[in-house]
Amino acid sequence: MVIYGVYIVSKSGGLIFNHDHNVPKVEHEKQFTYPLDIKLTYENKKIVVAFGQKDGINVGHALTAVNGSSVTGRELDDGRDVLEMLERPENFPVNLKFSRAKMTTNEKIFLASMFYPLFAIASQLSPEPRCSGIEVLEADTFRLYCYQTLTGVKFMIVAEPSQPGMEILSKRVYELYADYALKNPFYSLEMPIRCELFETNLQNLLETVEKSGISNV
């Protein structure tokens, strides 16, 4: 029973709130000898695995540390270029640490605005008349629930595919939003939600649902 995160998207498609709840950390450290048996490339300011999956290190994982010192962009702490360093046999054996790239806030805002047209196209391409947008989207690792209110605000919950009761949970989050965000005189509509009460109540709600199921809220 895991809930990965909650996103709230405003009527105009902007991300106004996000809360990461239980995001599993995927990290692997391994010793490598020369020559490297995985292929690394530099893209999006990160060094990522392009080919060769082994021991939990998958394609798309980013290099985070070399021999314990962290990697920023393509450089080590002392300014050496990582890719050049890994081409020299005298630097081996070497300890490389990989992890699944975490989403930055910017990427989250980008994804939230990307969901907005998907939601609209899904209702346009419908074979049946008068259809809503995407309500549930499932992939093999998660299920995304989207509840759109009459005012156009979307509440999105990302959870494990087996987690039940998420439709009800999204409505409960809407209640919290109405109670703690909208009734807060310092909150202006369409702006990011920074209300402490809202956040603590949401956190409590998610924890209760994870521990004892949706029937207790």
Binding site: L111, R130, C131, E138, D140
Partner: protein
């Protein structure tokens, strides 16, 4: 339960095949434009799913559901994309799509030397077999009957 329509896209986004059975809502745009819109949406969903996924995904996007219909998606490792719209109560649609790929597409398109891959499928036999498979599946039930 009912099946609405089927799209098959090639790796590069060409609409290889389109068929519809029970479709009440016409989108109001031409078939070509609709196919482009559909492919564009699927392409975006794929990248959306791979970014928002908390763990490494293998198959990625499986389906989405709206209030009126469910879109099921199957992509083969070669990039071929099968999209089937059904109503919300249909079960085991993934199996049906896999059957469509292995028993119809492979048999009557790939094994037919006159069928060019990556071009819209003209074969009458293929059309017939797709129709047969869909109409024989338990999901298919015309509500007008």
């Amino acid at each position: 339960m009912t099946i609405h329509n089927l799209y098959i896209f090639s790796k590069s986004g060409v609409l290889l095949y389109y068929a519809e059975w029970n479709r009440l809502n016409k989108s109001g745009i031409t078939k070509e434009e609709e196919a482009k819109l559909m492919y564009g949406m699927l392409f975006s969903i794929k990248s959306f799913v791979s970014k928002i996924s908390p763990l490494d995904s293998k198959e990625g996007f499986l389906y989405y559901k709206t209030s009126k219909y469910t879109l099921h998606y199957l992509e083969t490792p070669s990039g071929l994309k099968f999209v089937l719209n059904t109503d919300n109560v249909a079960q085991n649609v993934r199996n049906l799509l896999q059957q469509l790929y292995s028993q119809v597409y492979l048999e009557y398109v790939v094994k037919n030397p006159l069928c060019q891959l990556n071009e819209p499928i003209q074969s009458e036999l293929f059309k017939l077999k797709v129709d047969e498979l869909m109409k024989n599946s338990p999901i298919f039930l015309n509500r007008s009957l």
